[in-house]
Each structure stands twice: as C-alpha cells, then as structure tokens.
C-alpha cells in the first residue's frame, strides 16, 4: 500500500511538473472548452426567459451554476482516451509500461490525477469570471461541497475505467476510434452533459439509471448546484463506487484476455 501511495504521489508530482511547462497552452485549452457549456447555458437561459422565467422548474441562475460547474466536471472527465490506447497498442508503445512492475492503468490514473490538480487550480479564476458574467444561483451546504469534491474524483475513475475498457478493444480490432464516437453519442445524451437529466424525457432517465454515464456528469454537478437530500448524495456516491468496482472488474478480465494478443510491434 505504501508503495502505491509513493508511486501515485511521485507520478502526480511529475504530471504537475510537466503541465507547468505549458501553463499558457493549458489555459487556452480550458478556455476553448468553455464554448460548449456557454452555448448550452445561453440556449437554456433564453428558453427559460421565454417560458416566463423557468424550464422544468429551473431558473437561469440554476443553469448558470450547472454549466459553470460543468466546466470543471468536464475537465475532471478527461482521461486517457481510446485513441491513446489505439496508438499505444498499434505502435507498441505499451511495451515500455509492460516492463514496469506496476499495471499501466495505475500509471494512467496517477498521471491524469496529477493533471487534474493543475486543472482545478486553473479553473478557479475561470469560474470566477463566468460567475461574474452569468450570475449563478449557488448555495450549497458543506455536505454538498464535500460530496461534490469526492464525486468529481469518482467521476474521473469511472470514466477512466470505461474508456480504458473501450481502448483495450484495440487488442482485437487494431482500431477503436469509431466505437468511441458511438460511445460518445450515448454519453452526451445519457450523462447530463447536454442538459440536466431532470429535463430529459422519463424513459431516458429510466435507461440512464442503469448506465454509468450520469454518475460521471449529472451526479457531481447536481450534488453541488441542486437540492439533493442526504440519502440522494450517499446513494450517488454508492452508485459511483459500484461502477468503479464494476469497471475495475471488467478491465481486469479484458486486460488478461487482450494482453495475450499484444504483438509489441514497433517497440
């Protein structure tokens, strides 16, 4: 356990050092990402105003809070993508990591976790600017703040497992990009990324309850900006835990089967 702690801390430190090499690029990257939530925000705020002030019971202030917090959650959801897996398997870049006495998934989780620390620090002034412009309604309790902080890391782990599982399909198919795009379409609709889940039709919400997507987007955002009860918050964290464990379980199986097919070509 001490070994893993040492590895994670060292790896995160390396990731932070690397990201500090390119602070401007990181900032531009984050600013570029704001376009998407700002469009959603403007659209829903306009709809709310046209409908007499609310949509589905939500006022523009709620949408502002939702999509400003969205920007952080979206950044927390950036993980090693299936495209990255495709590259590392196709070109044999996985070889270097396979030679280390630690699973490559640990390296991915640790490295991106370090990057997240930089993301959170860079996000704070950005969120302050957005708040000044869009005036969000945000009055979370301390419990909500604590749950939110845990939930964004839970979301990060769920998405890491999901995208790693997708990426490992490259062991069989050589290319997995198309599958990722399909996954992305489902995620967009079923996660709360496009619109808060409460505004989705009932049947979409029902389907979504059985899938991992909403626990990576809607749950963390709603934990901070909505009015969830304590049981709702605990249930959400529990569901995140379930999906993390399921993700690890399936990732282990797929890894064991897939790694036998690894050809280590090129490296």
């Amino acid at each position: 356990m001490r070994h893993y702690l040492d590895f994670y801390l060292t790896s995160m430190k390396i990731a932070i050092q690397e990201q500090f090499q390119y602070p401007v690029a990181n900032y531009f990257y984050m600013i570029g990402m704001i376009a998407e939530p700002v469009i959603y925000l403007v659209v829903w705020s306009t709809v709310a105003t046209l409908q007499g002030g609310t949509v589905g019971g939500y006022a523009p202030g709620y949408f502002a809070a939702y999509y400003i917090v969205w920007t952080l959650v979206r950044n927390m959801n950036i993980v090693f993508t299936p495209y990255g897996w495709e590259m590392r398997i196709q070109r044999g870049q996985l070889s270097g990591e396979l030679l280390r006495p630690i699973h490559p998934l640990h390296s991915d989780v640790a490295y991106f976790a370090g990057w997240k620390v930089v993301v959170i620090v860079l996000w704070l002034p950005l969120a302050a600017c957005l708040a000044l412009i869009f005036k969000p309604s945000l009055n979370p309790t301390w419990l909500q703040v604590v749950v939110f902080f845990i939930a964004i890391w839970g979301a990060y782990l769920i998405r890491t497992m999901l995208l790693s599982l997708l990426g490992m399909i490259t062991f069989w198919t050589t290319r997995v990009g198309a599958l990722y795009e399909l996954f992305f379409a489902f995620e967009l609709i079923l996660s709360g990324r496009l619109v808060p889940m409460a505004l989705m039709p009932g049947w979409v919400q029902t389907i979504s309850a059985f899938l991992p997507f909403q626990w990576t987007f809607f749950f963390p955002i709603n934990a901070l900006v909505g009015n969830p009860t304590t049981p709702d918050l605990l249930y959400g964290l529990g569901m995140q835990l379930v999906w993390i464990i399921a993700g690890i379980f399936f990732a282990r199986i797929v890894w064991r089967l897939g790694i036998r097919r690894y050809a280590a070509v090129g490296n």
Binding site: Q21, S95, G96, L99, P101, A263
Partner: protein, 328 residues
C-alpha cells in the same frame, strides 16, 4: 553449461504471427472485405539455449531474423506460441512484479523518459515504480551518472539532449533498479563511435560489478567483439550457431588474410594464395588457415618484405557468411 546454473533457459521456443496478406490494388482491397487471407509467419521457430549467471552473450542475425521477438518473449512482452522459457526461475509471460524488478529491456530506439523534464525527475519516478530504497537509489544513480559522465546534463530537459546523451540517460533509467538480467536490443544504434565505446564500457562495468547476465543484439560488431565471449546466431527464426566468437570465426571462415608490404614490385603473386588486393607496394592474400605458416615462411624467404601481418577476416564478413550458411 550445467542446466541447474542457467539463469535463462529456453527450450523449443516458438512465436508465430498470423499476418493478413493481399495483393495491391482496389480489386484486391475490395475482395479482402469479404474474404481475408492470412499466412503464418514463424518469427521464432523452436529455438533452445541456456545462459549462465554473469554471461554476456551476443544475439546476432540480420533484420527480421527473430532476435527482437526472442528478447520480447524473454522479457515478458510477448506470449510464446509454444515452448518453455524460464528466466531467474520465473515464467516471463506471467509478468510478475517480482520478475520485472529483476530484469530490464533496453531498446536503442525507445524513449521512456519524460521529454519535458530533466532526466533526474524521471529517475525519481523509477525509484517509486521499482520500490528502490532511497539510500540505494541515490548511491546507484550517482554512480551511474559518474560512470557515464552525465553530471552536467542530468538537470537539463530531456528534449534538449543529443541522441547519444538521451540514450545514456535511458540506460541509466533502465538500470537504476540494478537488474540481474539485461536484455539489450541495439543499445548503441545511431550513436557515434565515441558514444558507442562509452556505452560498451559502461555495460562491461555493470556486468562486472553486479554479475549481471546480458543478452545483447547489435549490428555493430565492435559491440559484440568487445563484450561477448559467446554468440548465438539466428536467422529465419532458427539458431544457426551457438558458441564462442573464436569458434564462429573458425567455423565460418577457414581462411586468413596475409598483408605484405614490399620494397619493390613482384611478378606472379598468385602462386602464394588468392590475391584479394594489390597495389605497387602491397599485396593481400587469402589463404587457408592450415597453410598460413607455410605460406608466410615462403613469402618471407622469396620476397623483398618490409612488413607482414596475418589477420582473421573482419568479424562482419564472418557473420555475413554465417547468415548465408543457413541449415549448416
């Protein structure tokens, strides 16, 4: 070698790949959508050998011979199609953490260090990965930095280093955990002569200090001559030769070269042996090994000799001959 003392035991090891094949052109491409044809490539085919503790063995063969595939199976990157492999008593394909802590695979064209940071930061990550005790880590790191003369470079971002400097850093990083078995795949590829020599000396020192077992592939025969008493020659996935370098020369080149510097030109030099080069003051003969002393004596007695040297043929020529003697 006593099989019980062997650190690396390879028995009937094979690795076959299924490769999709099709002819060029749109028609063949369209046909392949419905019917794909595969062929089996035998990258490594039923090879067996053993290597003892502290041995440095050259693993030689032309491109595509199966050297790197073998190294990848020995280091656990590839699952063998058939056969048995044991390294340090472990089955490499299981890739147990204990096993991986005792070996390293250095590939001349592979970069593992963080591009943007000084190598010393990446070394710190290796310390954590390999659970190297802090004191040991500092001692070994500093020792290697000194041996490879990297003191002034270790704090520079890796992207600012030359190819040779980067390679030296990669080697330091790969050996920080002081592995007992080194698989070196062309560690000096693309480096200038001085840098090659420095790395060779380092490998030699490491082998001596840590009694490490080394299996080395290289296309630079200077690496092989300097480091390896024993060589294994492989081609088309099969072992053609396994023995000492001198045995290899004996077996694949039963000829010697006699170079004679003359004070005046001579007529009809071919009576002494096959003339392979001739200028006004110099003649080079190729003669069978068994008759070298007799021919040398005749030359010295008959000709106006200023200087005479007898040499084995260049090792490159011997290796080339060995590659072409497949099936011997």
């Amino acid at each position: 070698m006593d099989s019980n003392n062997a650190i690396i035991k390879v028995n009937g090891l094979s690795k076959y790949f299924q490769v999709a094949v099709r002819e060029a052109g749109l028609k063949a491409s369209t046909k392949s959508l419905f019917h794909r044809t595969y062929k089996t490539v035998k990258a490594v085919d039923q090879i067996s050998f053993e290597i003892g503790r502290g041995e440095v063995v050259g693993f030689l063969g032309p491109n595509g011979a199966g050297k790197t595939t073998t190294l990848k199976m020995l280091s656990g990157l590839l699952y063998p199609t058939s056969g048995q492999v044991q390294v340090l008593g472990c089955e490499p394909s299981r890739r147990s953490a204990d096993y991986l802590r005792q070996i390293t695979l250095v590939m001349g064209n592979r970069n593992q260090l963080s591009w943007d940071l000084p190598a010393v930061d990446s070394f710190e990550l290796y310390r954590a990965i390999y659970e190297i005790p802090r004191q040991q880590f500092i001692r070994v790191r500093d020792e290697f930095i000194e041996m490879l003369e990297l003191k002034d470079l270790v704090n520079k971002p890796v992207r600012n280093l030359s190819l040779g400097e980067r390679m030296k850093m990669e080697i330091v990083g790969s050996l920080l955990h002081t592995p007992k078995v080194l698989f070196l795949d062309e560690p000096t590829i693309g480096l200038d002569v001085t840098m090659q020599r420095r790395i060779r000396t380092f490998i030699e020192d490491y082998n001596r200090r840590y009694s490490a077992t080394v299996l080395l592939t290289s296309h630079y025969m200077a690496d092989v001559e300097a480091l390896c008493k024993r060589v294994i020659v492989i081609n088309h996935g099969k072992i053609l030769f396994d023995g000492s370098l001198s045995q290899l020369v004996e077996r694949f080149s039963p000829l010697k070269t006699i170079s004679v510097t003359l004070s005046k030109p001579i007529a009809n030099p071919s009576q002494y042996g096959e003339v392979i080069e001739q200028t006004s003051g110099m003649v080079k003969f190729r003669v069978p090994k068994a008759s070298t002393s007799a021919v040398t004596a005749r030359i010295l007695a008959d000709l106006p000799v200023d200087d005479l040297t007898v040499e084995d043929p260049p090792i490159e020529d011997v290796i080339e001959k060995a590659f072409s003697h497949e099936g011997l």
